[in-house]
């Protein structure tokens, strides 16, 4: 599975995350910073809930009419002389891109940040074909230099590294000799990247939104690197997930505003670039040749399913910044380039349950993600739906759990059994009780009592007290 990262065992990955105190400090700090900035930006806009509903409506509308907008988009790109390719699988997308690269005799590729190219694992594919691929987003560049360390956050890919660690990576890999000051680190990267931009034959970008009506696409960045990726090389390839469309510029404005506020707490980012097709005769810059690769990779299976709303996602990362589980385990624990709540919902859909069966359970269903999502995806509800799928359709739940839940169903269906069960509890638990607490519980209680005390069941249940009280005429 291309988007898979890290060791195979979920528990091992989590253990590693929990023990990485640098990462945890960085994540907690970033969550607090980004969370409060997001809140301020939302408050500043006013009527935030109305904006969210509007964003949701736009995204739902597009998904309901995706075939129509995809056709409109590709017709408009073709009419301007651009090429459009629909890739059903990562392999098809990679193959097409490689063919374009080879047909140009290209050896050097620069890229701006794109999650979908991570999803299809484009870089290693091109590198195997003998290309030099350079990531030009600073965060992505740092990870690339650090032997392709995978991203741990969809917006801030190197979130798990602090500036000292980045300095060490630069020193070791690039012969960097200055301090860990962010300006100095950035200046060094900029000098290297400038040269790469000038030498590149091909620029590859992702796509925040494509505008169907005009055949344009929009890139939202803070570094301006995407502008160079699209302005300098002669050939440009843009890769997009097939759902990332808006009908017109009117809707684009709404979604960009929701995106920048939710992602980084900014009214607008420093650069919002809209490009339309290859360079035309009277234009001074832009690529001579333009290719749009639209990636399905399982998305059409999600359309029309009970998970459709996950395709509303605009990849802002707000859910990740609000997630208390992500806070402690970090992005790599999810074993996928998509981490946090969005990752826990999306990864099993794209990569199957077999390899990702723990992800839907890596949530307390606290709802913090759902509360911040700017397009109102019911994230924790979708995690619950995954659990239902795993239990009922996939039959992948542990037997002991199934039996316990069966018993629950029986007991709960019959008030008599239920009362009997609760009445027996104190006696059944008696061997484990010391004082009023259980420190070492049996069965499912074991995991609980490894960490915490469990209360001993009261000999007189509440319902007995109530009944006796009525009898005594106390009420």
């Amino acid at each position: 599975m291309p988007m898979k990262i890290g060791s195979n065992d979920f528990k091992d990955r989590v253990e590693e995350g929990i023990n990485d105190s640098f990462m945890r400090k960085a994540v907690a700090g970033a969550q607090e910073r980004m969370g409060s900035r997001r809140q301020d930006a939302a408050d500043q806009l006013g009527n935030w809930e109305d904006w969210r509903s509007h964003g949701e409506e736009i995204r739902q509308h597009v998904l309901e009419h995706l075939d129509y907008y995809l056709k409109e988009l590709s017709d408009n790109i073709a009419s301007r002389g651009g090429h459009v390719f629909f890739a059903q699988t990562p392999a098809e997308a990679n193959e097409y891109i490689k063919n374009v690269v080879e047909s140009k005799g290209a050896k050097k590729v620069v890229k701006s940040k794109s999650m979908v190219t991570e999803e299809i694992n484009l870089n290693s594919y091109l590198e195997e074909a003998g290309c030099e691929v350079t990531e030009t987003d600073l965060g992505e560049y740092i990870l690339q230099v650090d032997d392709h360390d995978p991203p741990s956050h969809i917006v801030v890919p190197a979130l798990h590294k602090n500036k000292e660690q980045i300095r060490d990576v630069f020193t070791e890999k690039l012969g960097y000799q200055k301090t860990e000051k962010p300006e100095e680190l950035a200046a060094h990267a900029r000098a290297v990247l400038r040269q790469k931009f000038l030498e590149a034959d091909i620029g590859i970008t992702g796509c925040n939104f494509a505008v169907a009506e005009t055949g344009s696409f929009c890139l939202v960045t803070n570094e301006g690197n995407a502008d160079l990726v699209t302005a300098l090389p002669k050939t440009q390839i843009t890769v997009m997930g097939m759902e990332r469309i808006v009908p017109t510029f009117v809707e684009l404005e709404v979604l960009v505003s929701l995106l920048t506020r939710s992602a980084v707490g900014q009214k607008l980012t420093s650069y919002i670039t809209v490009l339309t097709g290859p360079r035309e005769q009277n234009e001074a810059d832009g690529p001579e040749e333009f290719h749009l690769v639209i990636v399905d990779n399982g998305r059409s299976n999600i359309l029309g399913s009970e998970f459709q709303s996950i395709l509303q996602c605009i990849r802002c990362g707000a859910c990740i910044n609000a997630c208390p589980v992500y806070r402690h385990i970090g992005g790599h624990s999810y074993g996928s380039i998509y981490s946090g709540p969005i990752g826990a919902v999306l990864t099993p859909l794209l990569g199957g349950y077999e390899e990702n069966k723990e992800l839907p359970y890596a949530s307390t269903l606290c709802g913090a993600c759902t509360e911040v999502c700017p397009v109102k995806i019911p994230l924790h509800g979708l995690l619950l739906k995954h659990r239902e799928q795993i239990v009922e359709k996939e039959g992948k739940a542990p037997i002991s759990e199934k039996l316990a839940m069966k018993a629950f169903g029986l007991g709960a269906a019959s008030p008599f059994l239920y009362k009997l069960g609760t009445k027996m509890a104190p006696t059944a638990m008696n061997p484990f009780v010391s004082g009023n607490t259980i420190s070492k519980g049996p069965g499912p209680l074991k995991a609980w009592t490894e960490i915490r005390e469990f209360p001993a069941p009261h000999k007189e249940r509440f319902r007995d007290w109530f009944k006796n009280r009525e009898k005594d005429g106390d009420a």
Binding site: P324, Y361, T364, G367, V391, A412, I451, F462
Partner: protein, 238 residues
């Protein structure tokens, strides 16, 4: 006013003191409290684990039990949030959906009921101690009850309140999450306990038995001197 008490399974079995305080408090406020004997569990443990079929059995029993009640009140935000989910769960079911709506509409979390229905903001309680309060995710995010407990606590005589840092952050309970993902849950509850300690409060108060069992269990295990009480117990102190 007649109130049917939905005690919740945790209170019935492990925290009868919370149930008692709830009854006494409601009676003090002039309500006539009954405890429908056929009540079971709201279905949440099974529902949140993905066992929809099994959980619906419990839900149907609960709907039948409480259908004719005038008001349904529970000392647990999470369980009332579950009741309010019933109409969505039974959507399109001609027999159960209308009943589910009826039950959901007259279900209230205890503090919400006191402030919004009884229109009481001062229950005449007195509690001479420093306290902090854990807000609970389901109570705040799913139920939207944020102000009621604050208003009631503010009017308790002698009570000194300190706000909990990171108060909206989950304590790591999450029902079966607490055992299934114990290693993560531990980190979450530890951060919560740290925040509680920072307030230097003598008592941690909450309105959800699940969260309190989690945080309280960890506090006890670590041998911290902080005491844990349900808000019903505070409001019933005089």
């Amino acid at each position: 006013m007649k109130v049917a008490l939905f005690a919740t399974c945790l209170v019935d079995l492990f925290q009868s003191n919370v149930g008692k305080a709830t009854v006494e408090l409601l009676e003090h406020l002039g309500c006539e409290v009954e405890f429908p004997e056929s009540q079971v569990c709201c279905g949440q443990p099974a529902y949140n684990s993905g066992y929809l079929k099994e959980s619906k059995e419990a839900m149907k029993r609960m709907i039948e039990t409480f259908l004719d009640a005038e008001y349904i009140v529970s000392p647990s935000g999470s369980c009332i949030a579950m009741f309010r989910e019933y109409p969505h769960i039974f959507k399109g079911d001609p027999e159960w959906e209308p009943k589910a709506i009826k039950v959901a509409e007259k279900s209230f979390e205890l503090t919400e009921f006191i402030v919004d229905v009884l229109k009481v903001e001062d229950v005449g309680a007195a509690f001479d101690a420093s306290v902090t309060y854990h807000t609970s995710c389901h109570m705040t995010r799913l139920l939207g009850v944020r102000k009621a407990p604050m208003v009631l606590l503010k009017n308790v005589k002698g009570l000194r309140f300190t706000e909990l840092p990171g108060k909206e952050q989950c304590c790591g309970f999450g029902g079966t999450f607490s055992v299934k993902m114990a290693q993560i849950s531990e980190q979450m509850v530890d951060e919560k306990v740290c925040h509680i300690e920072e307030t230097e409060a003598e008592y941690l108060i909450g309105a959800d038995a699940g969260c309190l069992m989690n945080i309280g269990g960890r506090i006890q295990r670590k041998g911290k001197p902080i005491k844990v009480l349900h808000i019903a117990e505070i409001l019933n102190s005089r």
